[in-house]
C-alpha cells in the first residue's frame, strides 16, 4: 500500500468534469483499483505520471470519495469509529463509485 521510493509521495485524482484532488499515495491506495492503477511494476500511464483520471466520476462524488479514503485510512484498525456524514442524494452514486474503485 505504501509508495515505493522514487515514485512521488502525492498523486493526483482527476474527476470526469476536471476537478483535481491531490492526495497522499497511501490514501489513494486504500482503493484497490487505484492501487493497481498506480502499481509501479505495471507500466501503465497512471503509474508513470502519478495522475489518475477517473472519467466516470463527477467532482462532487470524487470529493466525497477522497474524504472517505482519508477517513478509512485514519480509522484503520480502530473500534468505535464515528459515522461518516453521507448526503443521501449522493448515496447511489457513491455506492457505484465504491464498487468501481473497490473500496
Amino acid at each position: 500500500m505504501d509508495s515505493t521510493p522514487g515514485s512521488s509521495e502525492y498523486v493526483t485524482l482527476v474527476s470526469g468534469d476536471g476537478f483535481e484532488f491531490i492526495v497522499p499515495r497511501s490514501t489513494a491506495c486504500v482503493s484497490g483499483t487505484i492501487r493497481r492503477m498506480l502499481d509501479p511494476s505495471s507500466r501503465f500511464s497512471e503509474a508513470v505520471t502519478g495522475r489518475c483520471v477517473l472519467e466516470n466520476m463527477s467532482g462532487l462524488v470524487l470529493e466525497k470519495v477522497c474524504e472517505y479514503l482519508c477517513y478509512n485510512l485514519k480509522n484503520k484498525n480502530q473500534t468505535n469509529v464515528p459515522d461518516m456524514e453521507i448526503p443521501p442524494e449522493l448515496c447511489l452514486e457513491l455506492l457505484m463509485a465504491a464498487d468501481y474503485l473497490d473500496t
Binding site: 493497481r36 492503477m37 502499481d39 501503465f44 503509474a47 453521507i86
Partner: protein
C-alpha cells in the same frame, strides 16, 4: 448509512454506465488491442483507468461472461502463436535426439549450450507471461470480482497459467513426436544436473528459474500444494535419475576406491545435493534426495565399505584415522540407528586387539611353569617376568581403552550405542583371560607399592580410576576380591604400601563401583590394622608400668587379625598336615607369653594363633673378624630367620648345625626353613651363615656355620626372604588352590542366595529360582548353572529345601 427522511435520492446520471447495447464490441476492440500491447511490453501509454473502464462497462452490461471467454481465447491464441513459436525455435535437434548420448563429450557440450539457450528462452517466456498476466489481471480486476465469483470460475490469472501449461509445456514439440516442451525441459535440467555431478559448473540461477516456473504451475485449477508441476512431473524423474546415478556411483566407488575415498565422496555428495536443492532445484526435494542418497549410496554399500580389506574400519582403527572414522560413523548413523556393520567391526577389532594382549601376557607363562619345580633360583626370574607381563597386560588394556575412548568421543560423537558395543567387547576379551582378576589386582598392588611414588594426587587418582574401569568389566568380581585381599594383606603386614591414603582412596573407589558388600572385608582389614596399632602401644605402656621384664626389653609390634577377614592361606603354607607351632627362643617366647596374657586379660575367650611366617625382626649381630676386630650390624630379618640366627648364639664358634638339627629345634615348616636358609646362606650379599657344601640347593644333610667374616657396607642390613614375600603371579599349583577355594566360596554364596530367596518365597519354580539366583549373584560373579543345580541338590539332601512339584519342578522351603 445515516439517511434523512423524505430526501430525494438522485438517480445516477447516464454516462457513468453508458450502456448502449452493442457497446460490447467497441469496448472489446479497445480492450483486446490494449491487451496485446501489454503482451508485447508496450503498455506505457495505456491508461489503466481506460482499460478498467472498458472492462467495467462490459461487465456492467451483463456481458462479463463473454469477456472472460474472449480474454481466454485471446490468451490461447497469443500463447499458441507467438510464444510457442519462440520456444520451439529454441529447441535444437540436439536437445530432442541426444537423450541417451550423455557421455560423448562434444555432443554433450553442444547439448549443454543448446540446453542453456532453451532454458533461457523458456525462462524469459515464462517471466513475460507472468508479468503480462499480472497486469491483465489488474486491469480485469473488476471482472475477477464479479464474473468469477458469480460463475465459480478460476480467476483469469489461474486460467491463463493453466493455458500456459497446456499450450506451451504440454504440447508436442514437433507434430510428429510425442515429446513435449516439458519433456525437453525435464531432460535438459536433468542433463545439466548430471553435468554438475560430474564436476562441471553449470548456470544454477537459470535452472532455478525454470524450476520456479514448475513450482508456480499446478496440475489442477484449485492449485493445491501437492499438485505443483514440480512435484508431479519433474521431481519423480529427478529422483529416479539420481537413484540410478548413485547406484552406479556406489558400485564404482566400492569396486575401485578405498573406504576413505568412499566416505569422503559420500560426505561431499551429501553436502552437494543439499546445496543443489537450495540453489538449483527446490528445497522441497531436499529430504527426498537425502533419502535417495541414504538408500542408494550409503545403505547398499556401507557394510561393504566398513569391511573393506585393507582400507576399512579395521585399518582406520589401527592407524587412528579419526576423521575418516567420524565420516563412517556419520554415514552409518544416517541409514541405521544401530549402525550394525560398524559396531560389528569395532567390536571384532577390540576383541582381536584384546586377544593379542591376552596372548602376549600369557604366552611366556607356560614355558617356565614346566620347569619351576626344578630350579628355585630360575623360577624367580620368570615369575617376576610374569608379574611384569601381568602389569603390562593391564597397562596395554588401559592404553587400548584410552584409545577407544578417544575414538568414541571424537569419531562416534559419544554415541550411546557405540559405547555399549565397545564396553561389551572390552568385557568379552577381558573375561576371556582367566587371569584377568589376578592381573588387575597385581596392577593395583604394583602401583600402590611403589608406582605412586613421585606422582601427584591427581595422577594417582586417574591411575586408580583407570584400574577401576577395568574392574567394571570383570565378571568374576569375587575372584578379584580374593586376589586383592591377598595382595592387600601382604602390603599391610609387610608395610609395603606406599601410602595409606591411596589405599583408602582405592577402597572407597571400589565401594562406589561395586558396592558395600564387596569392600566390607577389605575395610575390616584396615580396621584390624588400626586396632593393632592401639594394641601395640597400650601393650608397651603395660610393659613399662609392670616392669616385670628381665634385663633385655624386646620391642614388640603386633598385628592382631580377625581370622575370617584375612586370607589365612597365604600365612600358613602348609597344607593338610597338622602344624606344630614354631619353637621360639626363650627371649621371644617370654615376650610372646606376656603379650598373650595381656591380650587375653583384655579380651577373654579369644584364641591367638601366631603367624611367625609373616613377621620380621630387628636383631643386632656381632661378628668376630678373624683379624681380631669386631663388626656390628643390625639385621632386619624375617621372624623365622631370627629364630634360626638366635640358635647360633648357643653354638660355639666354628661349630655347625645341620639342616635337620635346625629343623628339629625350631619346627619351622620345611618350605619356610629352606627359603630362609637360602636367604641367609646362599644369597650373595646377605651371607650371614656359611653353608657346607656351598651349593644353591638346601639338603637335610647340609651344615651351617655362623659367618664371622660377613661384610656389608651398611650398618643396617635387610635380609629379604627368597621369594614369597612379594606379590606376583601365581604358579599353576597356587592357581588351582585359589580356584578350589573360590569354588568353595562360590558354592557357599550360591547356597546362601538360594536359602535367602526360598525363605522369602516359600515355594518357587526351578527356573524362577535359577534366574533369581543368577540375578542376585551377577554383581559378584557369573555362577555356573550346574553348580547351582548341585547346590540345590545338596540343600535338599540336607533338608533345607524339599521338592514340591515335578512338572514344573518346584521347591519348597523347610523352616
Amino acid at each position: 448509512m445515516a439517511m434523512r427522511a423524505r430526501q430525494k435520492i438522485r438517480a445516477p446520471r447516464k454516462g457513468l454506465a453508458s450502456s448502449k447495447g452493442d457497446d460490447f464490441e467497441a469496448n472489446w476492440q479497445a480492450l483486446s488491442g490494449s491487451l496485446k500491447r501489454i503482451h508485447t511490453k508496450d503498455a506505457s501509454d495505456l491508461s489503466f483507468e481506460q482499460l478498467y473502464r472498458n472492462a467495467y462497462n462490459i461487465i456492467v452490461t451483463m456481458r462479463g461472461h463473454d469477456l472472460y471467454e474472449r480474454v481466454k481465447q485471446l490468451e490461447r491464441e497469443w500463447l499458441a502463436t507467438e510464444v510457442r513459436s519462440s520456444v520451439d525455435a529454441a529447441i535444437s535437434p540436439s536437445l530432442l535426439f541426444a537423450q541417451d548420448a550423455l557421455d560423448i563429450q562434444d555432443q554433450a557440450n553442444e547439448r549443454r549450450a543448446a540446453g542453456e539457450r532453451f532454458l533461457a528462452v523458456l525462462r524469459e517466456t515464462w517471466e513475460d507471461h507472468q508479468l503480462s498476466m499480472g497486469m491483465i489481471t489488474d486491469v480485469l480486476m473488476y471482472m475477477d470480482r464479479v464474473v468469477v465469483a458469480d460463475h465459480r470460475k478460476p480467476s483469469i490469472y489461474v486460467a491463463s497459467m493453466a493455458l500456459f501449461r497446456d499450450i506451451v509445456l504440454r504440447s508436442p514439440v514437433r507434430p510428429d513426436t510425442k515429446t513435449t516442451v516439458a519433456d525437453v525441459l525435464e531432460s535438459t535440467v536433468l542433463f545439466l544436473v548430471q553435468l554438475e555431478r560430474s564436476g562441471q559448473i553449470i548456470e544454477r540461477p537459470l535452472i532455478r528459474h525454470c524450476i520456479y516456473m514448475l513450482e508456480g504451475l499446478y496440475e489442477t485449477i484449485t492449485e493445491e500444494e501437492s499438485s505443483k508441476l514440480y512435484l508431479t512431473s519433474f521431481e519423480p524423474a529427478f529422483l529416479e535419475a539420481s537413484k540410478t546415478f548413485y547406484q552406479k556411483e556406489g558400485q564404482r566407488l566400492v569396486e575401485s576406491a578405498d573406504a576413505a575415498t568412499f566416505c569422503k565422496v559420500a560426505m561431499e555428495r551429501i553436502t552437494e545435493e543439499k546445496e543443489r536443492c537450495a540453489s538449483t532445484l527446490s528445497t522441497l526435494s531436499e529430504p527426498k534426495i537425502k533419502e535417495v542418497l541414504d538408500n542408494e549410496l550409503i545403505k547398499r554399500n556401507i557394510a561393504e565399505v566398513v569391511n573393506l580389506e585393507g582400507t576399512g574400519v579395521r585399518n582406520m582403527l589401527d592407524q587412528d584415522r579419526l576423521d575418516i572414522l567420524r565420516s563412517v560413523y556419520v554415514l552409518s548413523s544416517r541409514v541405521d540407528n544401530k549402525k550394525t556393520p560398524l559396531t560389528a567391526v569395532v567390536q571384532k577389532c577390540i576383541v582381536d586387539m584384546g586377544q593379542e594382549i591376552n596372548t602376549l601376557a600369557t604366552a611366556p607363562a607356560p614355558a617356565p611353569e614346566t620347569t619351576d619345580k626344578k630350579a628355585v633360583k630360575e623360577k624367580e626370574k620368570p615369575m617376576n617376568q610374569q608379574t611384569m607381563s601381568a602389569i603390562k597386560w593391564v597397562d596395554d588394556i588401559l592404553a587400548l581403552k584410552k584409545k577407544f575412548d578417544a575414538i568414541w568421543v571424537d569419531s562416534f560423537m559419544s554415541d550411546q550405542v557405540m559405547q555399549s558395543a565397545i564396553t561389551t567387547s572390552f568385557s568379552d576379551f577381558i573375561n576371556s583371560n582367566p587371569r584377568s582378576s589376578e592381573h588387575l589386582s597385581l596392577f593395583f598392588d604394583e602401583n600402590l607399592k611403589k608406582g605412586i611414588k613421585g606422582k601427584t594426587d591427581s595422577e594417582v587418582d586417574s591411575l586408580l580410576d583407570n584400574g577401576i574401569t577395568l574392574l567394571r568389566y570383570i565378571k568374576d568380581k569375587d575372584l578379584f576380591e580374593a586376589y586383592y585381599k591377598k595382595h592387600l594383606s601382604r602390603r599391610l603386614l609387610m608395610k609395603r604400601s606406599a601410602s595409606m591414603d591411596a589405599e583408602r582412596q582405592m577402597i572407597s573407589k571400589m565401594k562406589m563401583e561395586v558396592g558395600n558388600q564387596f569392600t566390607q572385608r577389605l575395610e575390616s582389614m584396615f580396621k584390624d590394622m588400626t586396632i593393632s596399632e592401639d594394641l601395640t602401644s597400650s601393650y608397651k605402656d603395660h610393659i613399662r608400668k609392670s616392669a616385670s621384664h628381665d634385663g633385655k626389653p624386646v620391642d614388640l609390634e603386633i598385628n592382631v587379625l580377625t581370622s575370617t577377614m584375612w586370607p589365612m592361606e597365604i600365612m600358613s603354607n602348609t597344607r593338610d598336615e597338622v602344624q606344630l607351632s614354631c619353637v621360639f627362643p626363650r627371649e621371644v617366647e617370654s615376650v610372646k607369653q606376656s603379650f598373650e596374657q595381656f591380650y587375653l586379660s583384655k579380651h577373654s575367650g579369644r584364641k591367638l594363633s601366631w603367624q611367625a611366617s609373616m613377621g620380621t625382626a630387628d636383631i643386632r649381630a656381632t661378628f668376630q673378624r678373624s683379624n681380631g676386630k669386631t663388626a656390628r650390624h643390625e639385621l632386619n630379618v624375617s621372624t623365622y630367620a631370627m629364630v634360626i640366627l638366635l640358635l647360633f648364639n648357643d653354638v660355639a664358634p666354628g661349630e655347625s648345625l645341620t639342616f635337620a638339627e635346625i629343623q628339629s629345634r625350631t619346627r619351622i615348616p620345611d618350605h619356610d626353613l629352606i627359603r630362609n636358609l637360602q636367604s641367609l646362606a646362599v644369597a650373595p650379599k646377605t651371607r650371614v651363615l656359611k653353608k657346607d657344601p656351598m651349593s644353591r640347593e638346601v639338603k637335610p644333610t647340609d651344615r651351617f656355620f655362623f659367618n664371622n667374616d660377613f661384610q656389608s657396607p651398611f650398618t643396617k642390613v635387610r635380609i629379604g626372604v627368597v621369594s614369597g614375600s612379594a606379590n606376583k603371579v601365581e604358579n599353576n599349583d597356587q592357581r588351582k588352590e585359589t580356584e578350589k577355594k573360590m569354588n568353595e566360596e562360590r558354592g557357599a554364596s550360591i547356597e546362601a542366595a538360594v536359602v535367602r530367596i526360598m525363605k522369602q518365597r516359600k515355594t518357587l519354580v526351578h527356573s524362577k529360582l535359577m534366574s533369581e539366583v543368577l540375578g542376585q549373584l551377577s554383581s559378584r560373579f557369573v555362577p555356573d548353572v550346574n553348580m547351582i543345580k548341585r547346590r540345590i541338590e545338596s540343600l535338599i539332601d540336607r533338608e533345607y529345601l524339599e521338592r514340591v512339584g515335578e512338572d514344573p519342578p518346584t521347591y519348597g522351603y523347610i523352616a
